[in-house]
């Protein structure tokens, strides 16, 4: 009985932490982008102000029921993935709800929210939203392939579909999977570029051509929900990468350090890149990332 309450409390604390960390990371990314562009940039806590402001907007509009629930769909995904990904290893509070085979579950739950959100965006009737959604889905088909290849390589190498098992493997062998299966790591990182939707893969939002795409009709509380769910989701994905390839983390500072190191990759890549067109983005993922994915699988079959 006690352990269940621990778990539930741990899950809530995790979600709050994910929210804070995710927003801070996004704020830091804005700051770093500004410094790269030789600007002063907003303070790192700017995103908290933005979120607070969005939450304190007094009016909002919606175009129908699905539009109203779309952000809630998005939120499920984020919180579910945070709850399933083990945040800290070997900790009673932060081991969360993971179970055997959660990797496959995660793959599917991660698309559930965007799809629900896409339905909400569809009901707005704004053509920009629909275009953004089709671009997003197309891009998803692109980056899921190398991403799944990397995961499959890990699964076949260690004969498990559980994240905890993969962390344990790293603890036992003493090396991170990043080094023991490098090709899978490269494929996964390249796929991550698309997953985080920084440029050059920001074709979904594309503020200048699509008027921010699927979210173009969302304001106020809807945008707040989407923004916080995005930040939680970002943290979940980063933690997943850390768990899979960087050996997990046993305390929070180490976790923050590792996640931020991972986070820098898509961010720094994005700062210096212009935007791709959709088919270019898809072809990008089916080029070198796919090649590394195949290498990863071959590597896994050899060892």
């Amino acid at each position: 009985m006690d352990s269940i309450w621990y778990k539930i409390l741990g899950a809530i604390v995790t979600v709050v932490m994910a929210f804070i960390v995710g927003l801070t990371y996004m704020g830091l990314s804005r700051k770093i982008t500004a410094r790269v562009q030789n600007r002063k940039g907003p303070p790192f806590y700017q995103n908290f102000i933005d979120a607070l402001k969005l939450a304190s907007k007094t009016s909002a509009i919606h175009h129908g029921f699905l539009h109203h629930v779309g952000p809630a769909f998005m939120m499920i995904t984020s919180i579910m993935s945070v709850m399933i990904v083990p945040i800290l290893t070997g900790d009673q509070w932060f081991s969360n709800l993971n179970f055997k085979g959660d990797l496959i579950f995660l793959l599917y739950i991660m698309v559930f929210g965007p799809l629900g959100m896409a339905l909400g965006a569809g009901q707005t009737g704004n053509p920009n939203s629909a275009i953004g959604v089709t671009r997003g889905l197309s891009q998803m088909v692109g980056f899921e392939i190398p991403w799944v290849m990397a995961l499959v390589a890990l699964m076949m190498q260690y004969h498990t579909t559980s994240i905890v098992d993969l962390i344990n493997v790293q603890h036992q062998s003493g090396t991170w999977l990043m080094f023991s299966s490098p090709f899978a790591f490269i494929a996964a990182v390249l796929a991550m570029l698309g997953m985080f939707r920084y440029s050059p893969f920001d074709i979904v939002g594309a503020p200048t051509e699509l008027a921010s795409g699927p979210v173009s009709e969302n304001g106020g509380k809807y945008l707040f929900t989407l923004m916080s769910s995005n930040s939680i989701f970002a943290f979940a994905k980063l933690t997943l990468y850390v768990d899979l390839f960087l050996g997990g983390a046993s305390n929070i500072p180490v976790l923050l350090l590792k996640t931020f190191a991972i986070y820098l990759i898509p961010m720094l890549y994005g700062i210096v890149s212009p935007r791709y067109r959709t088919e270019q983005a898809i072809r990008y993922f089916w080029g070198w990332p796919l090649f590394f994915g195949i290498l990863a699988i071959l590597h896994a079959t050899v060892f």
Binding site: A55, M80, G125, V148, I282
Partner: protein, 616 residues
């Protein structure tokens, strides 16, 4: 009288009666039709248990009808889809011509499917197979559109399948002297190598045609989209499963005893994988909902074939589970299309938009089925896909996993297209008159789509029959807990291990829904879809802002090279070659009596020469 015979008698009598009842007043013939569907199926469900048999001696052949747990599983599929589709058909087909013809064919199809499942001998199996083919062919050409193109294509492929099967049956009779399926299974390991290959291949061609396996699938899109939608939900939901049924028997009962069967299964599984990918890609391209669903059926059958083809216990279970789920959600989706066709008169995504507020219940059914189709967690499709991945992983088919995953990710594209095209987007004035369909059409859809939800949360309800069925097929008996191979299920079997997670999902969803609804509730307004942020421009009433033409264009620019070659082209090339050959034969048969007389003379001379040279 034996209940089995009774069922067939009712079916047959009902088919004839409803055909002539076409002249009767409306409600009477509808009741008659429903009675002929419900009574035998109810009889089957209540009166018949596995093990009932019926033997008859007919024209020198011993016919044996019986029901095994395995065929009982498929009978469940037939029952669930056929009853719902019948209820749907009554309301959906009201007011069309040739209603008696439709009813009779509908009943005949169901009878034939039940017959296939009952048959324990190849003769009655083949007869029922042919009845099924014929009645479905008549349904494909029911509307009389494009009969030349679509009907002939379906007919030719069915004929190829049927003759391949017939050939196999004749060979079997030649070798064993018996028509019983059991005899074939028992005698198969003793056949010589050529026969061991030839018989399964011939049978698989026959079953592959019905289950739309990759090179034999070309009939499917046209046939599925041309039959009346009330029938197509049976056609795609249940009838295509007959191919799977046969395929499982061939793969498990025959191929397993074949020394190199491993490679055979591998080929079938890969064909299934390619079917899934190509079906998905073509489905994304379609602008017509019927065509989209037809290609999607091809793709989904591809998954099932992958599971069945791999043939490990878990893979087989996932294949059968997916078969059941596919019957439920694809049956619903075809009914949804039928409803939309009836209410709006078109099924084209580029024409209809924004029906969600006009047809909310239809949308709910479509949404649930689409979620099940896409394989997203709380619903049934996910369980099947999960088991499929798990089995592919554990049987080391790693590249097949990626192929399947690509196909199921790309499936989101057409799933979204389906929902968006009909229900979302701008609400146009043109469609203001559309109303929700009558209750008789909505209820079957909702029942079937909620069934996907129920079976997603309590998969044990289906896994138990599947478990029994697989044990009759020869899989190991594990005290009725075959599903424990999969990590997804918990110890007490009939529920998913993720049950707490599902509760968590619902809890989080409700929490945020309440947050969104309560937060500044008074100041949250509904605005029409014309009131969108379009750079300050006010869309005029005739201006259609819906984005529906070239919907997935950027994706297709990326996959262009894959889509260039269509298998139809090869068939067309083949057909053209055949035509040239027939032209040549027509030159021989000139129609002139004198020429024929000359042929006879030449033939006799050749015979004489041959006789002299070889036998002289």
């Amino acid at each position: 009288m034996n209940t089995i015979v009774l069922i067939f008698v009712i079916f047959l009598g009902g088919a004839i009666l409803t055909y002539f009842a076409g002249m009767l007043k409306g409600i009477l013939k509808e009741i008659l039709f429903l009675a002929t569907v419900f009574v035998p199926l109810g009889l089957f469900y209540t009166q018949i248990s596995t093990g009932d048999t019926f033997n008859i001696e007919l024209a020198g052949f011993a016919l044996k009808w019986a029901i095994t747990p395995f065929s009982y599983l498929f009978a469940l599929i037939v029952i669930s889809v056929a009853t719902m589709a019948a209820v749907f058909a009554v309301s959906a087909m009201r007011g069309t011509k040739n209603l008696g013809f439709f009813y009779a064919n509908f009943i005949l199809t169901i009878m034939a499917m039940m017959g296939i499942l009952f048959s324990r001998d190849l003769v009655s199996f083949f007869i029922f197979w042919e009845i099924m083919t014929w009645s479905s062919y008549l349904m494909v050409v029911y509307r009389g559109e494009d009969v030349q193109k679509v009907g002939i294509k379906y007919f030719i492929f069915s004929a190829i399948g049927a003759y391949a099967m017939l050939m196999a049956i004749v060979i079997v009779y030649n070798l064993t002297g018996s028509m019983m399926i059991d005899t074939l299974v028992r005698a198969y390991p003793a056949f010589d190598f050529n026969m061991q290959i030839l018989i399964p291949v011939l049978l698989l061609i026959g079953f592959g045609v019905k289950s739309a396996l990759m090179p034999l699938h070309v009939w499917a899109p046209g046939a599925y989209s041309h039959a009346p939608m009330a029938y197509t939900s049976v056609f795609s939901g249940a009838l295509s499963k007959m191919g799977i049924y046969g395929m499982v028997i061939v793969l498990v009962s025959l191929i397993s005893y074949f020394p190199q069967g491993h490679w055979f299964r591998e080929v079938i599984a890969w064909m299934g994988g390619i079917t899934a990918v190509m079906g998905t890609l073509w489905a994304i391209k379609q602008d017509d909902a019927k065509k989209l669903l037809a290609y999607s059926s091809v793709a989904q059958l591809g998954y099932i074939i992958v599971g069945v083809g791999i043939g490990t216990p878990l893979a087989m279970m996932s294949g059968l589970f997916l078969a059941f789920m596919h019957a439920l959600f694809k049956g619903t989706l075809f009914m949804v299309v039928g409803t939309i066709e009836k209410q709006t008169g078109t099924t084209n995504f580029t024409e209809v938009t924004g029906l969600i507020r006009k047809m909310p219940w239809t949308f709910l059914a479509a949404l649930l089925s689409i979620i099940a189709l896409a394989g997203i967690p709380p619903l049934g499709g996910f369980i099947g896909k999960w088991m499929l991945y798990e089995s592919l992983m554990s049987s080391e088919h790693y590249f097949l996993v990626i192929v399947i995953f690509f196909s199921s990710t790309a499936a989101f594209l057409y799933c979204y297209k389906f929902l968006f095209g009909f229900f979302l987007g701008q609400e146009e004035k043109e469609w203001d008159y559309v109303k929700e369909a009558p209750a008789l059409m909505v209820i079957p859809m909702l029942v079937l789509s909620f069934a996907t939800f129920v079976f997603g949360v309590f998969p044990g309800l289906i896994l138990n029959p599947i478990n029994e069925a697989m044990q009759t097929l020869g899989y190991a008996n594990t005290q009725g807990h075959l599903w424990e191979m999969s990590v997804i299920f918990n110890d007490w079997g009939n529920q998913v291990a993720m049950q707490p997670i599902i509760y968590a999902i619902i809890a989080i969803f409700l929490f945020f829904l309440i947050f969104l609804t309560l937060k500044s509730y008074k100041n949250t307004r509904y605005v029409t879809t014309k009131d969108i942020s379009s750079s300050g421009e006010v869309p005029k009433e005739h201006e259609n802002l819906t984005f529906s033409i070239n919907f997935m264009q950027p994706f297709f620019r990326a996959v262009e090279p894959l889509m260039k070659r269509q298998i139809d082209k090869y068939y067309n090339g083949f057909a053209n070659g055949m035509e040239a050959l027939f032209d040549f034969t027509r030159r021989i048969y000139t129609g002139n009596g004198q020429t024929y007389a000359m042929y006879v003379v030449i033939f006799v001379i050749i015979l004489l020469l041959l006789k002299n040279s070889f036998f002289g």
